[in-house]
Structure formats: C-alpha cells, structure tokens
Symmetry: C3
Subunit: 407 residues, 3 copies
C-alpha cells in the first residue's frame, strides 16, 4: 500500500518528474512502418509530448514538434519533401533537426532576411527496426536503439499489434511482473468466458503455481514459476520470462512494448514472429498491423465475454482499464504473489538514483558491437507456434489486404 | 426560488450529506432478474457508490465493493462460485458479506497465514422481488424490502423498463408531485408532436385542471386533481395518485422507481403489470426488459419529435434532461401548480430531522406481518389496460427474444 | 507573439469582456429559414448565451431565453402559437418580447393575479434576409440588419452551408486576413491531397504571391495580392477581397460568416449565389442547406485526405481545429505574410475604444436609405461560377430532397 504521494511519484511521466526523466532514457515504438507507407505523417504523443512523425521524400524518418512555429497549424498535415516537412498552411519548411529552412513569402518580400534562423522546433531521432519505428526523446548523447532478438531475427514471419488503453503506464507494466495472474486471468477466467460464450474448446486448464521467484538480471528482471507437475529443471523455473526494463515483456514468440503516451494513456505494441523457411521474406511495410481489443463493459455494466474468451492480451487490457485510469495504490494489498512488483518498484528507484548521479541506467547501450542481437532466452517456443501463423491479424481492422501469409 | 446553498443541499446525495443519509434508508432497484440470468455480474452505482451485484452458484444475491482489495481489478469480471465471487485476476474470493475467504497463492506459499482475515470489502444486501433486484446500502438493522402491491400481485403479466437520464434525482422526483404537467406535456405537447410527425391519431385532448390538492398519507403524498367535467366524486380527486416516499410513483398499472445513481445521473425502472388469466405464469427471468428512451435534441438543436409523440415517459425524460444536469432552482418561479413540490421539500426536511433524532423515517418497515402487500389504491385501471399487453417492450433493444406475450 | 493576457483578451467573448462587448454590436446568422420550416424552434448559442429561436404561428421570428422561468424546461420543446411560444411543461406562454403572457393553471385558481407580470425572459430581435435568420443580442437601439450585396441580389440561385468547429472565433477570422495561405493550403496541399487520393485532376497549380497589401476601408479591410504573372491592374490587386468587420469574408460568389458560439466553438455559415435567369425563383425555405465538413485526424492520428482534396472550406476547417481549441498565440511567430492579421488586431482595439467612448463601431448601420444594398466589390466572378450550380450541396446530409436545381 503506497501513500498518495508515492503513487503520484511512480505514475507521473512528465518532463522533470523523477520517473518521467528515467523513462526518457529509452527508445519506444511509435508506429509501424506500414502506417507511414499508408500516409507519410502521423501525430504521436509520448510521455506527454505531442510530436509529428514523418518520412521525408528520401525515406528518412523525422520526429519534430507537432505545431508549426508560425501560426500553430498541426504539422501532421504537412507535406513531406526530399529534405524535410512543409507546413500546409503557409509553406514553412522544417528539416529533420527541427530547423526552419524555408519561409517562402518571407523570402520573397525580404530576400536574405534571417527570420527563419531563429525558428527551431523540438526534434528527436526516430529509427526503424524490424518493421517498427522507434523514437528517443531523452537527453543526448542518444543511446543505441536496442536490437532485441526478435526484432532482428531472420527467417521469421512477423505481425504487429497495437492498442491504446486509457490508463497509466505503471499498471500495465506491473502486470509483467505478475506470474500468478496467468493461472487465473488466462486460465480460470478464460475458461469461464469460453464456456459462457459457447466456446468451451477455447478453455485452458488452470495449473496451480507452487512457487515464484524473481532475479535481477542484465536486461531487467527474470520471473520464474513452478507449476504443479513441474520441477526446478522445467523451463518455467530454469529459464523464466523477461521483464525488459523499463516496460517490455518478452515471451517465446512475442515482445510486448508498453509505451507511456501520457499519465492516463498507454500504447501497447505486440510484436510477434513465426519461424518460416524464409523464402518469402516480408518487407517492413508489408508486416500485418492489427488493432488489439481493449474491452470495456457494455452499456449495461456487464463484461463483453466474446472478446475475453481466448487471447491473453484482451484479457489483460480489460483488467488494466478496470483498475481505473490511475490505479489507486493507496488501496492495494500486496502479498506473496506480488514480490516481483515490489522488486520492480525498488528497481525503478535505483535507476532513478543512477541518472541523478549522472550515470546511464539499465539497458542504455552505447557499444554497437554489443548491440548486434540482444538475446532474451525463453523456453522452447514450439508449443506456442503450432498453427498460429497469421492468427493475430484476425483482429485487424486495417491493412488486412496486405496480409500475405506464406504458403 | 431557492438559494444556491439550499439547492445544493437538496440535490447532494453522497454519504454524509443530509439528503444522502436520508436516501440511504431505502431500498432501490438496481437490476432486472433477467440481467443476471444473462450474465451473473453487473457493475452498479447507487448514491455515488460503485458496487458489483452478482448471483452466486447457489442462486444467492451478493452486492459488494466494485474493486478487489488486492490490486483493484473490477469484480464485475469476477467468477461466481457456490459461496462467493472470485476475482478474475489472481483468484481471491469474497463471500456475500465482503469477507475475503480465499487467496490461493498466499495459501500455497504460506499455509495458515491470516492475511485474508484483514481483507473486507463493503457489502450490502440485495433481494429479488417481482423480477426486480433491490438493494439497501444504509445503516443497520436492515429494514424490510417493501412489498408494494404491484410487485406481489398475482395473475399479472409483467414488463420492466429502464432508463438512465443524465440529471439529478430531485428534478425527476419533483415531476411526480406535479399534476398539471400532465395536461400540457402529456396532452397539448403530445398532440402537437403527434400532428407534426403525421401521427395525429396519437393525440390526446387536453383537459383543463380546475383544482389540485395534496395530502400527506402513510406512504408519502397523495396528489389529487379535478379536471374539467369531473367532480369531487371522481377517482382523480377522491382516490388520487401516490408519490411513494422518497422517489417512486404509483400509477394504475405501473410503479416508476427513480434511483439516484450519483448527483448527476438518475436511473429509472418502469414496472408495469397487465392482468391476465394466470395460466401462463412468467418466471422472473422471463419478464421482458426494455430500454425507455431519454430523448435529447438532434445534432441541429431541434427536438426528436418521433420519440415524443406518444408515451409519457420519453416526454418526461426529455424535459428532465432539458432542465440541465442539476436544475438551477435559484432561477425557478413556483406558483399554485407547484404546491405539491413545496410540500415534498418540506417532507424531505421533516424526514431528515427524524433520522437526525435517531428515528426511522417514513416507509421504513420492520414488521413482516405488515409487509405482505402494501396497498397503494388508484383509480380503476380498466381504461389503462386495453390493448396494451406487451406494448412497452417495443422499446426493447434487449431480450426481445424472451418476450412471451400470453395468447 | 502575444502575452497570455493579450491572447485571453482577444479570444474571450462573454458579456462584459472587451471583445465580447464589441462583438455584441453586430448581427449574426443563427439558422437557415429552411430549418424553422422543418421545425419551428431551434436551440441556439451565441456569444455564450443559450437562446431559443422560434417562428410563431403568424410567421414572426422570436428569440428568447432558452429556459422557462417556471421550472426551467427548455423552450426549444415549446409550442409556437399565433402570438408567442408556449412552454410544453405547464403551458406558460411567452411573447416575442420575453414577457410571460399566460400561466393557465395560475389563472384558473387565482383569476386576475399578477404573478406573470413579473416574469421576463431575455429577448432579442431576429430577422430573415435572403434565406438566413440573423439575430442581434447587443445594446439598444438595435441597428439595422446590414443588407450585404449577395444577401439581396436578384436573379440568383442560392445555397447555404453550415459548420461548427470546436475552436475559438479569432483563429477562424484571422484566416480571412491571410492571403498567402491560399497559395499553400488551397494550392500546394490541395494538390498533394488530390494526388495522394488518386484525384490528381482536382489539383490546382500553386502560383507564387509576389506581394500583399491591406487597406482599411468603409466595411473592414481590403486584402490585396499580386501573384506571379499579375500586375497592379489585376483584380487581385486592384479590387482585392473583403474582410467585412468583424468576422465575415466576401468572395466573388460567397459570403462566409464566422459566428462566435462561445469561446471554444465557432459556427460558420457559407452563403453562396449563382446567377440564373430568374424564371425559377427559390423560396427562402427551399434554399438547399448542407453541412460543410470539419475534418479531424482519423483514429490512427492521420489526416482524412479524402475530405481535403478539393474544396477550400474543409481545408480551412481542418487547420482551424488543428491549431487547438484556443490557438496559443504566445507561441506564434508572425512575419510579412501576417500583416493583415496585425492590422486586424489593431482594428479590434480601435473599435473597442470607440464603443468605450459611447460611439458606434464600424458597420453599425442606422440609416435605412443607406442600407438598401451594401456593395462589396470583388473581381469578376465568371471564373468561379462555371459548372458549380448546386455543387456545394453535395455535402448535404439534410434537406437534400428540397434541392431544386433550375434547368
């Protein structure tokens, strides 16, 4: 149980806040490459800052302040040119560094004037990796974009999912440190929802957790579980699963990125891979993009079980939203099942201290040689992959037409 | 005309407020039995408190705090078991008294620990009567659920309507004490709306009110009217109609319950009966449930007359909403037509004084022998019933399939 | 760049504010005549005041406070009678001067009482001209409704468009003083949007502005532009275009009225004419009324280009909304292109001083002889009219059936 002040400290992500400054040391996905192929600009919000992401005519990515310095038109309506983004309202042009490089009418009537030299928008770096576009908005020098294993894996077929839930980032992240909910939410409740909706075959036997453990490791926290029938030699215990600091989950076939949009919204990107023989390579723009449901109650105050009777992510999202916008931790009662969450809160504090001492926190990489492929070992993924090729994209309300499942 | 402070006093229903404490002495409908047959949990809000209503595996009703004490998942996603409701997130189980009776993982790793003994959610009583589920959230001892006549009448066929209007409870209740509006809103305006929409046959001749009167009676206030052409022997004057304290209306064939959700929302339950020969008895779960319209202006600022050209309830609801969220009584100008409203406000004050003196207010029943059937006499209902069997359920957007009209 | 206080001063339109008092000296369109033909009442909001506009049984226009003085029912549900508007709730009747002239039940039980004599609603004047209904809510004596040329032109066929954008009035008005945006938003961006949506034929060649100028004139500000290829003898320079003070734009075939609804909403009325031979005269009620789109970003943060690839008004509206509800002028950077805007802000200040000195500001007309037809010269409109008869009404989601294009 936290005090109100402690809860506010952990959940505030604005510039200048303790957690906000820590979270600014990391790269986050903001878009799928396929989105910019559809339209070359996108309004994005990250850690409370409104920005426009764009791809210029040469294919370079830009990420600058969302509003033109002239008369505050939103640059998401901007026209990409070879070397920048032009405001649609009066044609001011910005380069990827946020410099104003052209003011057509100003230059017509006062050739050689220096007005534009004083115009500077916020500008950050954006990079594409594995079909996702990542951004870094923190202090310089800019660290390397981490090349987590699935992002750079060869001979796989990829799918990208997306959701925005109307809640604070922390409750979505604490869920990653919580092995026991899998037994209940993704076992008992899933089976209940499946049976109530006549899809009993989607049920999943609940298997009791006998013990759990958490270890601090290079890339974050490894959570371990021993289920009934397992031993300390089982993958669940011996290998475990990763919380990749600060807010990413690694599963056998999926990375789940939790991205703080602002203090009351969290974006999630679901990045999954399926091994294939590699003869039908996807281009980044062709990776299917789907929207993952975030179920809410129906208009009569009752659950939408038909969205909750199968995949784990809609189940998690329904719970996140049900905890209310900012989960009131002054009312929580943590127990043995929550030791991972307690460890995570301590880890947050420790990392905050590191940056206050001027040091790099965990997972800030600056050596390209060590960033070729950051391995996050998990159990064998054979059991996760059978027959699932393309399965997730059934959620897609977008880009379904570009879904190309290799034969 | 009230002062701002007086208006706030009469319209504030939170715990600890004068009116809020008075209103907590009563039972209110929160759901139709058919809703819990459809799904056994429902998120409800009453007098500002968020609760989850559920039916356990033995068929008992429970009403407990909406959020699990562990990590604040909403218990509307809970799984009913024989003896309680299990949180979907980590399996904590609560009984109907709000006690935490199981914490599976805590008990696995620390058998015999007493953690759960300190976990207690708010818990209240809920009872079903006549196909409605009522709740009481006030101080103990819990009074009896009043058995108003229509709720327990035999040989009738029932329909249940529901609406939520985005306004304070008091303006919906003052309407019950207001005989004259029937002449205008349900007469002149109804006819106008019917004519404007080409449904002139739905019009109803306006009959002038000659006098009105109000009497304090056992169960609330009896309002009387004498229309042009009537005498003091007419039912309208001699028998009159009930405001059943605090906020229920009794008509010949209908009880209308006004339920304070919070200070800015009021739920209404329309409970109507039609005498039938009784050979085709409805089960509680089979009573048709329909949504009653609460018309608002269209996108161009004009009335939706097609929702206003017939039944009285959508007409009332349109006016309630038009009075704005909390009707500004500092701007009202009451006259002779409003003597019932003035009497009602005095009655509220008087009942508040009673509870402040430690006494039971009006309509708090504790003697089962006197609560077999609480008779609320009205005029003969023959004229109200012709051809109306099942008529209201035409509004239903739900459960239409279970509408079974006896032949 | 303004201070926060300066920006608030220019954008606040409530009663008693400097700009609000100035803006109250003018007539504004509130409805199309066809709307009251469809239904004789309409809820309107102007400069923050909620009013009900109605046409009584004799065809006269009324504009009175939106709420009945009795129990605050909204009078938009009122029933028009020969000599006023009757409240639907209890039949109180108001005349067009806002006097309460009937309280049926009060008069029944206390004949001859004077209760109604003290009941007075706000009441203003409304007049129809050219198919639009205008209102004046400022101090008396009421000035004349200006007869701008297009409103009274003979032998034309008319169309009326309407939009409400969720932004402050000033950013929509400053756009009128901004010649250069036409080159970019309605040229370069339009062409870009047309090409991106496969409608390249809708593109329009961008022609460079060589110089711009602004002149204070009788009715407001004349803006002039010289485009590449033009001379000082070209219409664009010699005749120019009008900002009709305070917030109307005159184009060759269109008046665009910007109407402050409240500080965060602006209504726009697009009044266009097409010369015809006059044998098929429209009645005011038959003028087609259409909704003009105000495009916002789609759910994925990207522009709706299919609404932006042709007409100028949706392009303007998208930009207005993108500048945010109240454009933050503490972040603007004005240049040579914005000299008209600076002149307009000075003009606002000057007119505020005039009314503070007790004088009439610009465009307040009191001499009927001088108000027969207020000419606002523009360039020849031949090039604007080819093939456009009825074109705008394609936006109509209303009244399409009454669209009668002369052969």
């Amino acid at each position: 149980m936290l005090t109100q002040a402690e809860n506010e400290r952990l959940t505030s992500t604005g510039a200048g806040t303790a957690v906000g400054e820590l979270l600014r040391r990391y790269w986050y996905p903001l878009a799928a490459a396929s989105e910019l192929a559809h339209h070359p600009t996108k309004l994005v919000k990250i850690l409370g800052e409104e920005l426009v992401l764009f791809r210029d005519g040469q294919g370079n990515l830009g990420l600058i302040g969302a509003y033109c310095a002239h008369r505050r038109a939103q640059l998401v309506y901007g026209i990409p040119e070879a070397d920048g983004l032009r405001c649609p309202y009066h044609g001011w042009k910005y380069d990827r560094a946020g410099h104003c490089v052209e003011q057509p009418f100003e230059e017509t009537v006062r050739p050689g004037n220096t007005f534009k030299d004083n115009i500077q928008l916020p500008a950050y770096v954006a990079e594409e990796l594995g079909g996702l576009i990542f951004a870094y908005i923190g202090p310089k020098p800019v660290p390397l974009l981490p090349r987590w294993d699935l992002l750079v894996e060869q001979n796989v077929w990829r799918e990208i999912g997306h959701a925005v839930t109307a809640c604070n980032w922390l409750q979505t992240t604490e869920n990653i440190l919580d092995p026991v909910h899998v037994e209940w939410l993704h076992g008992e409740f899933r089976t209940y929802a499946a049976q109530k909706t006549g899809k009993g075959e989607r049920g999943r036997k609940r298997i009791r957790h006998l013990k759990i453990a958490f270890d601090l490791a290079d890339y974050g926290i490894i959570k371990r579980r021993m289920l009934e029938g397992e031993t300390e030699e089982s993958d669940d215990w011996k290998i475990g699963h990763w919380l990749v600091f600060p807010s990413t989950q690694k599963g056998p076939d999926m990375l789940r990125f939790r991205v703080p949009v602002d203090d009351t919204h969290t974006a999630q990107w679901y990045y999954s891979v399926h091994p294939v023989d590699g003869t039908d390579q996807q281009k980044a723009d062709e990776i299917p993009l789907y929207e993952m449901p975030s179920p809410v109650l129906d208009e009569h105050g009752q659950p939408q079980l038909d969205l909750l009777n199968s995949d784990v992510d809609p189940q998690d999202n329904a719970i996140f939203v049900s905890q209310q916008t900012v989960f009131d931790r002054t009312q929580e009662h943590l127990g043995e099942s929550d030791r991972g969450i307690v460890m995570y809160r301590h880890l947050l504090d420790h990392q905050i201290k590191l940056i206050q001492e001027g040091k790099d926190p965990m997972n800030v990489f600056r050596d390209p040689g060590a960033n070729v492929c950051l391995e996050l070992p998990t159990e064998s993924r054979e059991k996760f992959l059978t027959g699932r090729l393309g399965a997730r994209a059934r959620y897609s309300r977008r880009y379904r037409s570009i879904l190309k499942v290799p034969a």
